[in-house]
């Protein structure tokens, strides 16, 4: 059974919570005591119907204010796949939350109200999904029941969105007409939309091909730590622990260690003493090498003919996540990239991107909360990186405020700064 992570985004009142409630309910993932608790609370609040959104809003403040504050993670499984939903609220802190949810997602699901069509928020969500390079995008046109299941409404929205999405980098785009309230085309095929021949949402989630989304070509193995038991039972065991972020490693393969540039061969791959025949993303393994090299945390193993970019000057898109403090040219931060930590200084803020119009404001002196801009950074030590569009893990970093230790920025590397 494969694992699929997806992020959901939508505007206020477009029925996102109802849709997730429907997916969980129709796959028998909501159990009786959870439903009973929601029914109790719904009644106490005087709601007219069982408010499935209450299943999702866990925090006290959320229940009081009737809003979702933070990314919530939900889980369900069918016979085909296990699913992790990152449910991101549409209004409050939408950029920070959506960027967080999208960073690990294989698929983004964006909801549109059939009566309202493509809104500013829809475009914003689609842009963020493409910026974070979520490989698959699904636009669910919801509330089809309220437009008489009219094929013309669906096609108009599909056309409008398709036009807009040409400006984005979206590899795989699907459109599904649904009614989350009635369950049409969510888990079971709707008899009220015979004109729709495509998959139901669940069928799509179960079958969308995600195995090729990983980079299986460029070997990237950032070293997390060195495992040396130094015991009488294992006097000579020495291996590098880490998670494979790209490519396929096999015993006997020639590898190069960065930053030293020395090459050697993989002697053995194992996890907990059990040999591993091949390691690929996202496996965590131990790599033993044929020669003793000076390798430690933050170093990277790659193939000699196929190394990552190495450098201290980065051209990157940064999404600013912090309240109160802004990103200003000249500012210094702690930076975490793969297993490597460094300090970084903002050399230049080239422009701030308007996420609604995609236009560039080159006069902006700073980036504030939920703003996205293009920057040049200089790091204290060289990083071993790839362009974010080639590898989401070796192409991403976070910025940390050294005074407060808060995570203040999320970065996606365009390439070396020139």
């Amino acid at each position: 059974m494969e694992l699929l992570r997806f992020a959901t985004a939508g505007s206020v009142d477009d029925g996102k919570s109802t849709l997730i409630g429907r997916l969980l309910h129709d796959t028998r993932s909501i159990l009786e005591d959870q439903l009973a608790a929601v029914e109790r609370t719904s009644r106490a609040r005087g709601d007219e119907y069982v408010n499935l959104a209450l299943l999702l809003d866990g925090l006290k403040a959320e229940r009081e204010q009737g809003i979702t504050i933070d990314v919530a993670y939900r889980y369900f499984a069918t016979a085909q796949r296990k699913f992790i939903i990152a449910d991101t609220p549409g209004h409050l802190q939408y950029t920070r939350n959506m960027v967080t949810g999208a960073s690990t997602a294989d698929l983004a699901l964006i909801l549109v109200d059939a009566r309202k069509g493509v809104l500013e928020q829809t475009r914003r969500h689609a842009f963020l999904a493409s910026l974070l390079r979520v490989p698959h995008l699904v636009l669910c046109v919801n509330k089809m029941d309220l437009v008489g299941f009219d094929v013309a409404v669906f096609e108009r929205i599909r056309e409008e969105f398709r036009q807009f999405s040409m400006k984005l980098d979206v590899a795989d785009l699907s459109f599904i007409p649904i009614s989350a309230l009635g369950g049409d085309n969510v888990v079971t095929r709707s008899e009220r939309m015979p004109w729709y021949q495509g998959s139901t949402l669940l069928h799509h989630l179960e079958n969308v091909h995600i195995a090729s989304d990983r980079n299986l070509i460029h070997v990237r193995f950032p070293v997390q730590s060195v495992i040396r038991p130094m015991s009488s039972k294992f006097p000579d065991y020495r291996a590098y622990a880490g998670q494979v972020l790209g490519g396929v490693l096999r015993p006997g393969d020639e590898v190069m260690a960065l930053p030293s540039g020395f090459t050697t061969r993989i002697r053995e791959l194992d996890l907990a003493g059990r040999p591993v025949a091949q390691a690929f993303p996202p496996m965590s393994v131990n790599v033993s090498l044929a020669d003793e090299l000076d390798i430690s945390r933050g170093d990277m193993l790659c193939r000699p003919g196929n190394p990552p970019l190495v450098g201290q000057d980065l051209d990157a898109m940064v999404c600013w996540l912090a309240e109160g403090v802004s990103l200003l040219p000249g500012a210094r931060f702690a930076l975490k990239h793969t297993t490597r930590s460094a300090r970084a200084q903002v050399k230049q803020l080239h422009y701030r991107l308007d996420v609604n119009t995609l236009s560039r404001d080159e006069t902006s002196p700073r980036l504030g909360l939920n703003e996205i801009g293009r920057v040049t950074l200089r790091t204290t030590v060289p990083l071993f990186f790839d362009e974010y569009r080639r590898n989401r893990h070796t192409g991403s970093f976070i910025l940390i405020d050294e005074a407060t230790n808060a995570t203040v920025g999320a970065g996606m590397i365009n390439g070396p700064a020139v």
Partner: protein
């Protein structure tokens, strides 16, 4: 050759990565080990993450003094087998020394009282990373918690002020006196845990499997009869075949009627079950809609 990874392999890889990140970046971790199935799986993953080297951190158990003897025995066996170091933070001791007030009455529980000795032990031993086996699917406040969950110098969780967590880049930075709770099983469900137990042959305390026990009904739940839970008028002790779905202390953990004696029989029952594990067996969550959030804010697991 195929490059597909099963969901259990993907979850294992993520958890191992998280545990290794903590050890690489934080110098004084500890793993909370209650003897329950989630902490058993977490310990199994931690051992795998560093083998053949020994476990590079100690274990801690917050002992309410009202634990199931089978669970304590299991705890001690695991510790001995691994040659691990175990710290026991005792609720009884905290009560005896007047640092915690004990709840009174027949429904008294030491569940909430665990927070004080837990935070005291973290401070005393200067732990700056505390591994917990909590899962996001367990409870709705937990669904919003980070993998690396920051705690201030009072051990408090501020759900509205959490660090954004992107990709697999975890921020473990903190000042002296602050710490991180780390949840390597965040993305696991109850079923994942059981499937992994079956696959890896993880040993569990015997009370997770069907056995005969003296029980009584309270608030719709089946509680184990013990000296720690005085009967209320009308409550009657009977003997039944039961197993536990979660293991807290004897005052707040209920059991379910079951004939499942093997892991695969337990999995069959879970798949058919229509009630969540906390709904079926945890009195501590039933105080209010936000009982878990309230306790977590104070520094609970």
């Amino acid at each position: 050759m195929s490059y597909e990874l099963s969901h259990l392999d993907a979850l294992e890889a993520e958890s191992v990565f998280i545990i290794r990140e903590v050890v690489a970046e934080l110098d004084s971790p500890v793993l909370l080990f209650s003897g329950g199935k989630d902490s058993a799986v977490m310990l199994h993953l931690a051992v795998k993450a560093f083998a053949p080297a020994p476990l590079p951190f100690p274990l801690m158990h917050v002992d309410t003094g009202h634990n199931f003897p089978e669970v304590l025995q299991y705890r001690d066996e695991r510790v001995a087998e691994l040659g691990a170091r175990l710290h026991v933070a005792s609720v009884q001791e905290a009560i005896d020394q007047g640092r915690v007030a004990e709840e009174k009455g027949p429904r008294a529980s030491r569940n909430r009282a665990q927070t004080v000795p837990l935070l005291e032990a973290i401070e005393k031993h200067r732990f700056n990373a505390v591994f917990g086996g909590a899962r996001r699917d367990e409870e709705k406040a937990r669904a919003k918690e980070r993998v690396f969950s920051f705690r201030d110098e009072f051990g408090q969780w501020d759900p509205k002020n959490q660090r954004p967590e992107l990709w697999n880049l975890y921020n473990g930075r903190h000042r002296r006196g602050e710490h991180l709770r780390v949840f390597p099983l965040s993305n696991w469900t109850e079923l994942d845990v059981w499937q992994y137990i079956a696959r890896e042959g993880v040993a569990l305390p015997s009370i997770y499997f069907s056995h005969r026990r003296e029980v009584f009904r309270r608030d719709g739940m089946l509680m184990a009869w013990s000296p720690y839970l005085p009967l209320l008028p009308g409550e009657e002790v009977t003997t039944a075949s039961v197993r536990f779905r979660t293991v807290g202390d004897m005052t707040c953990t209920a059991c379910v009627e079951s004939g499942a004696v093997t892991v695969s029989e337990v999995i069959t029952e879970i798949v058919a079950s229509r009630v969540t594990e906390r709904g079926a067996s945890r009195a501590d969550d039933k105080f209010s809609e936000t009982a878990m959030e309230d306790r977590k804010r104070e520094g609970y697991f």
